[in-house]
Symmetry: C2
Subunit: 403 residues, 2 copies
């Protein structure tokens, strides 16, 4: 199958590109490399020393015999996106090409506006390009479990049967997103559903949980193929950050009580979920939603698991509760359905102790590259402008984030 991966140089995108390439698909990576620019702007770096796309794509071709076609450009540029469709004619389009950090979108007005403009208008371009150039192409779009928020009822996969005043309908599940980034995905979901309805497009919205891990079967083949491993407060996902903190003896930074419960998955399951979605496309006019995670944990659950794993390799791991810089429930009901990908054949990699050990080991392997100054949260949801330099000084003085 000809599969284009928008954002194929990023964390999930790179792993997915290699996985689909190994499975024999013809893969194109479409990327503007802006993710690498954000690292520079924020003065942070991935724990793992990733190579340029040209270099790692070259290594992959030598190792596997499979070529990754590369298109450099931005999906918000419709002329560029059109040329990708005309040249590559994808049968499936996997869309990771969005700004994906909640704290980044909450830095200030400029970052909020950028995030929503980039994500929502980019996805509008994708929908129009499919309709214009390749109407049978299956859109596999990365959403987020964060679109649902933390309602006091069970979370279903995209749609909810509602009975009200003696009548019944199946309606889009109500959305209560928790950042301007998560909201951008809510907006995308509404736009996608509409485009499928009016134009008969076929789409799968993958509401993904928090991803952890860095190694997949393909990236493990050569160090030059190594994937990103972000641990900073802006782009680092929580379990990755905890492992890095444990490796250098820094207390695990739990926001608030730590009862915040979310869905999680191993990056090896991310790549498999995307493959399953591509292999089993949505029908024309269908906008289906899969909740893409394998297990639920609270933040405090994770911290305690990392503590246990750390002890086994003689690390002394403490847990520090910081005032929550986000506006979110610190204790809440959470029960989210996630059976559709399992029904398609997903065999989950669960977060066992052994996996945690290997995560901590990776953090220890690249210990020299760890910058402790990027651990503490500097973006406060309650403030409309988080001037990062000032905040940093303030927090280093106070030892905690400002409420």
């Amino acid at each position: 199958m000809k599969i284009a991966i928008l954002g194929g140089d990023g964390y999930c995108g790179w792993a997915t590109a290699l996985h689909l390439s190994r499975k024999g698909h013809s893969v194109a990576i479409v990327d503007s490399f802006i993710r690498r620019e954000w690292d520079k702007d924020l003065d942070v770096a991935t724990l793992t020393p990733i190579r340029s796309l040209a270099e790692r794509a070259g290594v992959w071709e030598r190792l596997s015999g499979n070529r990754l076609e590369v298109f450099e450009g931005d999906v918000t540029d419709y002329g560029f996106l059109s040329s990708v469709f005309r040249e590559f004619q994808p049968e499936a389009l996997v869309h990771f090409a969005e700004q994906r950090s909640a704290p980044y979108s909450m830095i200030d007005r400029e970052h909020a506006v950028f995030t929503q403009a980039n994500n929502v208008l980019g996805t509008l371009n994708v929908l129009f390009a499919i309709k214009e150039f390749q109407p049978e192409c299956h859109l596999v779009k990365l959403g987020t479990m964060g679109e649902y928020g933390t309602p006091n009822i069970d979370i279903e996969e995209g749609y909810l049967t509602i009975e009200h005043n003696g009548r019944k309908d199946v309606l889009p599940y109500p959305k209560q997103a928790g950042s301007f980034y998560h909201l951008s995905k809510v907006h995308d979901s509404h736009n996608m559903l509409f485009a499928c309805r009016i134009w008969g497009l076929r789409a799968t919205d993958l509401n993904q949980g928090v991803v952890y891990g860095t190694v997949t079967d393909e990236t493990a083949l050569d160090e030059a193929l190594i994937n990103r491993f972000d641990y900073d407060e802006v782009f680092g996902t929580v379990l990755n950050r905890f492992c890095v903190q444990a490796a250098v003896g820094y207390p695990l930074t739990v926001y608030g009580k730590g009862g915040q419960t979310r869905g999680y998955l191993d990056i090896r399951d991310t790549v498999r979920c995307v493959e399953l979605a591509c292999l089993n496309p949505a029908a024309p006019g269908e906008c289906r939603v899969f909740n893409q995670f394998t297990e639920q944990f609270s933040v405090l659950d994770l911290a305690r698991m990392v503590q246990t794993a750390g002890r086994k390799v003689s690390l002394k791991v403490e847990i520090q509760h910081l005032p929550d810089p986000r506006v979110e429930a610190e204790q809440h009901y959470y029960n989210a359905r996630h059976s559709k990908l399992a029904d398609l054949g997903l065999q989950p990699h669960l977060l066992s102790e052994s996996l945690l050990d290997s995560l901590v080991n990776i953090a220890m392997l690249y210990r020299d590259r760890i910058d402790e100054s990027v651990f503490l949260p500097r973006v406060n949801w309650r403030k409309p402008a988080n001037r990062r330099q000032q905040d940093e000084k303030l927090m280093l003085t106070a030892g905690v984030v400002q409420r």
Copy 2:
């Protein structure tokens, strides 16, 4: 009260500005005049000969003794919006400054992207400006009944109590908007709810139905104060268009079966609803939703009422069913609650036969200005690009819109 009206030169905005000014409020009009540019771009004009804002604001000041402060600029320009807040320091902000036509947003990709960028990013700017400069300011934002779509259950005012698997929560009412314009309002609603939650802003989302009429107590005082009356297929609302069609003996253009049912209200009720919202502000942190309409009608109901009214003034009025250029249910359940504004004291102007007479009379009064070539729908929801010149020729030849 100091009230700033974003989009105060437009159809609802101008009527609202005069009404609030007459009631003794200190009113500022904030407008970029882009609405007047769209008329030029589409080669259409309001039925009524509206004057420049400078002229009509001057006439109002001479007649009423009340000055309308004018700020010329665009809310997507944050520097400009900031200067409005610093200079005027509004206690309430009425936000009409959005691209408000569904067909306009469906012309092609450029118009869809423009509509969502203009509306969503403009409203983001408004939220940040309130938080930054005037956090107690009450945002009164124009939404649309079209956010809800046509679900098979009763429509509530913004929120719905849902019982599911033995648990219960009050959640945002699920949204199923029917155009990229209506979707932009859905996106706004989600962003507003979030901003109220994290920053304690106070907001009222007025989900307005289809507005009809042009005369209010204030615009009737002098012809120089006359309001817009749009009847073209892009910006004309359905009842206004039917009255103009009746006046020139053109068949009323009903899309499809005409069973499409929506909420409607007189523009004299629009201005009163906004006033009621301003006088009874939301609490800090509250994002409340009012369904702002007074009666439900199907399109065919309206066509038949115009037919009856036309006969009384000796007009021969025919009804023509065109293939529906929109993708929508032509027959459906529709029952939307609208009690919150009534609870605050709204006394509706119902669409009586006498009012219809006056609407038809206005159309006959300005009959010389009617351009029949703008009646027929030229924007087809099913096509991603509606090249208007070509479509026009095509439809004049075929006599109907192309499916």
